[in-house]
Amino acid sequence: MATETHDHAHDHRPPPDEDGPLTYYQTMEIAVRELLIEKEVFGADDVRAAIETMDARSPARGAEVVAHAWTDPAFKEALMADGSAACASMGIELGPLRLIAVENTETVHNVIVCTLCSCYPRNLLGIPPDWYKAKAYRARVVREPRAVLREFGTEIPGDVAVRVHDSTADMRYIVVPRRPAGTEGWERERLAALVTRDCMIGVTVPKTP
């Protein structure tokens, strides 16, 4: 069907050979960047710094936040009350974005999406995976979340509710997964290693050690 033909044939191609001829949009990017630098909207160093900042963001930051919440009830309470402020207290600035943490429990499993585009808690998880931005996930996860989760190898019991949260430009979600049994007494770092990107999107759950 039409929704199958979209992003995936294009988005998964390997990075273009930098020696090959520029595509139209690559040419456009260079031209726009040069013009903006000449007009002093920003400097060339700002572009480099922004790329380095983005490169430094990875799901490890989100995992630190989750592990902190697992081990510190006061922090967890703060995170659930105001995600942006709680992250700021750990030195992770989200700017004007409102971050909402949603917690998986015995009775509720959460999963996040941006049906309209690709809004994502980038400060905590980095750039979203291709499938998060592609149509199949965006279209289906709000309609048949259990079937989508099954494709990711995640079976949610029938008596557990599945809640899907649709992000916006100004409001981003992160899933706080359930702490696996058998991790009592673990240090934060060891716990953080269990928390993957996909757990914080909600399409998987942390593996029991």
Binding site: Y25, E29, L36, T115
Partner: protein, 110 residues
Amino acid sequence: MSDDPGRGYHDIGGLPGGRIERAEHAHALWEMRVDALMVLLTHPERRVITVDELRRGIEQLGAEAYDAMTYYERWIASVTNTLLGKGVITADELGRRMAEVAARDGEGAG
């Protein structure tokens, strides 16, 4: 994709869809630069563009282009259209500079 005239082509939540393709690609440098461009233009100190304007621009590309373009191609097209609309750059400047960039690229490759 949708025959419902009340629904934009980007507005796909709840529509049927195929299997989720889970392969991921490494971002090319030019894609990272487009990302950086957007981060810089939306920065609270500059506020040249907002995230909503980026999305509106993508929603105005047309269904055919939306489906044919890659993710960051949509971004740079939307950012550029928004900058043109706001008069931050002019169509003339852009056209000339793109021709120069393409010419430089041709020389380098030859």
